[in-house]
Subunit: 414 residues, 2 copies
């Protein structure tokens, strides 16, 4: 069973926004056994929408469209769909009342433009958008296609997919399973990894497809199975990955979704350990990675973003003379930051970073990208220096990742 | 002049990654006057690639493809392009040597798979990838199309676009201007805004196209001009937006790219003010927003992520009895957090947040999403409570945005 995803909006074509809707829709469709044949983004232009829908109808049974359903003149998806299906727009009382109430709650008057949002092509089934003013629409075509139009606002689209579209598609279509599982490896470059696991790869059952997804210091290995019994495929994939553990066990981090911080999260929660962070160049990024995870309050005690030198000494007790002597970006300061925040928070472990995120502030001895990082533990403190790149956001994200990895290496066997 | 962007990779189709390459490529092409007709994502499958390229050649002069150039078996873009152009793969000595050196620097042996990365279709012009092992390729077709294949790694793709593709396209093609400018408004819902500016919109020159881009509390208005003199279009757009300031001046935040934090950044830098942050539920997200901006060290002194109650009292001096009496999520604690971090850092202004990010920890009186936020200033402290939603990441991002907006309202007229 195939689907085509079409996202509509000039803002996508000119690159003003990154389209996250298609990835979300794809995951949800894959999870119920629908393969994505193609994803296409087009502008707010009637002919482009018509051509694209016609093409998609030849390729796929299911077509999911997002965007172009707003109240203003630049939104033309609904009128274009009405033209495609030669259907007139009719006022839907229920949706109109819903929009009126939604606006009233936010003290917004119900205008003619809002009233227009309750107009829908007569031939469609309305998909009630509980979280917004643009209803979704479901069309069954004479050719046997299912065409679904959803608002582009990610939150509203997500709810419509979860609450209505996915359950309906499952009920209406006879679907087979798609299984994807991904194992994360680190420390082996893609080309070397491919050679080391070549014989394993060649011995895989023919219905499993292997993909390599490289990222800095990490390669994700994904095994996919299409249209075979789901539980059977899942078991086979897990068994094949278990064989892989015998070949490259030390380099396996965990399943997809297992980030370094989530592994630490699990270890600290399980072992009832506590964590604190002192950040200079990473500026709160490490703290926010941990606190983004539900349940972080069980172990994450405190973070200090000691950006100014005075904050390093006043709040976490770094010796001001040492800052003057060695510089804020130095092994001594990184160690004192980790030890200091561990002390003032009472945490078992602490991470510290201090570096030059740029674009200015670098020198020949300490160029932009130089980052000292330290881990304070109950058994002592370790520190290391890494060069984290040249671009400010790259430096912040790499320094955060490296420092978190340092802590992971300290606690991974607990 | 039109372009089609094709991104290749099963990981895109199954939604394992969000494709950010197309947005970046689109912005760069728009900036030199090339319109994007369509963006398409397809899987690592030869027939899909051939069909998609054939279709794109009918629609667009320029075709930019990314992905599928890695060393492993699942990457087939290069061999498929060689088939499309009926061209054999030949070993490129220079690229081979470059790959060998790049790997040597990282202590990675040069294997047969890496050697394969220096194989390129004989008919293409090689685009040297200084930052990676997969060279880009440029094909001039007999039909007059330009087909460019780039690696999918964003960093490598960005450099190839900037350093080679864009300059070459500018040199090779006769291009006209595309101008987009976006003004950010806040506080007026889209439908009301559309009515208030209706007469302005109707009086716009016919060659300017207006688009509404709504987000929570914000509507971005974009004016676009295609294929007219660039400087003239830019002047006209600025003049039209100036007229808009007379209608909804109080609601205009600034130009695209002007986030609340960047406006505060500018004010604090100009007025030599200093800032500190005390975060509980936002967990470092506010600090990281400010410190992500180059030059933040001029005013951002310190942040404290006082996640545990002990951190609230020990590090920033919130009265422990008040935490027990009113709860950590309370007006009293929010105020004391803002005042406390302002005091210990010596900053002029401070932001504080304390709330329930969920998914657990809510109660009837204080449901998940309840966030108290406070701003401490040289003239006193203000506090307010806002409900920031139901989902953890949504709550963190909304609470951060609202708290930053609160500070903006305090300092916007400075």
């Amino acid at each position: 069973m195939k689907a085509t995803v079409i996202t509509i909006g000039d803002e996508i074509l000119i690159g003003q926004i990154v389209d996250t809707n298609t990835a979300s829709i794809s995951r949800k469709l894959n999870a119920i056994g629908i393969t994505i044949a193609e994803k296409t983004s087009i502008g707010d232009e009637a002919q482009a929408i018509k051509d694209c829908v016609a093409r998609a109808m030849r390729e796929s049974k299911v077509i999911i469209m997002t965007g172009g359903l707003g109240p203003t003149k630049d939104d033309i998806t609904k009128t274009t769909l009405a033209e495609i299906f030669n259907s007139k727009l009719v006022y839907n009382e229920q949706e109109g009342e819903h929009i009126r109430q939604l606006l009233a709650r936010r003290n917004i008057p119900f205008t003619e433009l809002n009233r227009g949002q309750a107009l829908v092509p007569e031939c469609c089934t309305v998909l009630h958008n509980a979280h917004g003013t643009a209803p979704g629409m479901w069309f069954d075509t004479p050719e046997g296609n299912i065409i679904i139009s959803l608002p582009g606002v990610p939150f509203e689209m997500e709810h419509l997919m979860e609450d209505i579209v996915i359950p309906q598609l499952k009920e209406r279509l006879l679907l087979q399973s798609i299984v994807h599982k991904t194992l994360i490896t680190r420390g082996i470059p893609e080309s070397i990894l491919a050679e080391r696991i070549e014989r394993w790869e060649e011995a895989l059952p023919h219905y499993l497809h292997l993909a390599y997804l490289p990222a800095p210091n990490i390669v994700r290995l994904r095994l996919s199975a299409y249209n075979i019994d789901g539980e059977e495929a899942e078991r086979t994939i897990v068994a094949e990955f278990d064989k892989l553990r015998e070949i490259i066990g030390d380099n396996i981090v965990g399943w997809e979704g297992a980030t370094m911080e989530s592994l630490i999260h699990d270890i600290f929660t399980r072992r009832k350990l506590t964590l604190a962070v002192a950040e200079s160049c990473t500026g709160g990024s490490i703290a926010s990675k941990f606190t983004a995870m539900a349940g972080a309050s069980a172990y994450f005690l405190a973070g200090v973003v000691s950006y100014a030198n005075s904050a390093k000494s006043d709040i976490i007790g770094v010796n001001a003379d040492d800052i003057a002597r060695y510089g804020a970006v130095s092994e001594s300061v990184a160690r004192q930051m980790a030890e200091g925040v561990r002390r003032i928070s009472g945490a078992d472990y602490a991470i510290a970073t201090t570096g030059i995120a740029g674009p200015t502030g670098g020198s020949e001895a300490k160029p932009v990208g130089t980052v000292w990082m330290a881990i304070a533990t109950p058994h002592g403190t370790i520190a290391t220096m890494r060069n984290c790149g040249t671009d400010r956001s790259q430096i912040i994200s790499r320094a955060s990742a490296y420092a978190i990895e340092m802590l992971y290496d300290e606690v991974k066997n607990m």
